[in-house]
């Protein structure tokens, strides 16, 4: 996994850990933050995968 996706994943976990200790009325905030980081982690992973595939395609064949 690339480091950026890992970073976003760690941020998602931190936000998720905060859900139970947040007041009931504000609980949607860490949930929304956690989901956003999860989406960013997946997007980052997909971006890196696409770039690698493009790089392989554009590299001169032996």
């Amino acid at each position: 996994m690339d480091r950026r996706a890992g970073f976003f994943l760690v941020a998602a976990v931190i936000a998720a850990v905060l859900v139970p200790v947040t007041e009931a009325g504000d609980r949607w905030v860490p949930i929304a933050v956690s989901i956003t980081y999860l989406v960013l982690a997946v997007a980052s992973w997909a971006d890196r995968r696409t770039r690698r595939a493009e790089h392989r395609r554009s590299a001169p064949s032996p």
Binding site: F7, I14, L18, P30, Y37, A43
Partner: protein
Amino acid sequence: MELAGVIIVIGIALAFDFVNGFHDAANSIATVVSTRVLSPRLAVMWAAFFNFVAFLVFGTVVAATIATGVVDPDVLSIGVVFAGLIGAIGWNLITFYLGLPTSSSHALVGGIAGAAVAKGGFQVLIASGLQKIGVFILLSPLIGLALATVVMIGVMWGVHRHRNVARLNRGFRHAQLVSAAAFSLGHGGNDAQKTMGVILAVLIGSGYLPVGSDVPLWVVLSAHTAIGLGTLSGGWRIVKTMGSKITRLQPVGGVAAESAAAATLFFTSHAGIPVSTTHTITGAIVGVGATRRLSAVRWGVASRVVWAWIVTIPGAWLIATVTYMIVAALS
């Protein structure tokens, strides 16, 4: 005698607010100045104006949280508030000397809590209020970081489709005026209210106002004037850390970081949560850097910020405790 004490503590609270504006001016103007959209002089005037007019936009919910949501209002006395302020100011001066963008808000919460515990023991702490503040200490930079990343991705997607990059850059240089104004508005709204909370606490503690009172208008205006004047005086030591040491910002990154941080501050001010404007913008700047690549973020500087973040509350707490013990011994 007591009135003199109240006036002195209010004076110190306004001085704290002034230093807060001075300390945090860099956060809102670093990118506008570094990209030469405005001269430093005009930039601080721009930020100071929006710091001041924030009282027209935001209520005083954050002030109420500081005054009655951190420690039991019954324990608040002139001595406790004085010691809490000395703890916060002392810690701010230490970190200002070290060039660290620490949070005046956390220092204030740590200072007030430390002094109150020194007077009445740990039972005077209000667990629910401290829990809310503690959760958002962690959440506010995370929200700023996530929003800035999302905004940057949206902008990059737009740029990719637009092609005319020179014209876009010109547009973003001007958009920085709006984003810097929004961030200054959020900063004035959240940070000036902390001083209002301290003044409200001392007025309640000394019996000049009953518990549950609204913040008087003269307190609102004087707090916004003090933070605006502090910003006008400008603190340049931290400009370098915020503007270039964490990650190098371009106009587009400045707009993304400032608008993300401003949105976070608008939300937390509305919800009555005192958060660190410094850590919110730091998180947003890291978010902008992370859209390029993680190595674009200077993690050494970012980790110094995090360490300062962790030790701020205990540091201010300790100074406030010692100050309160001296005050109690002398009186």
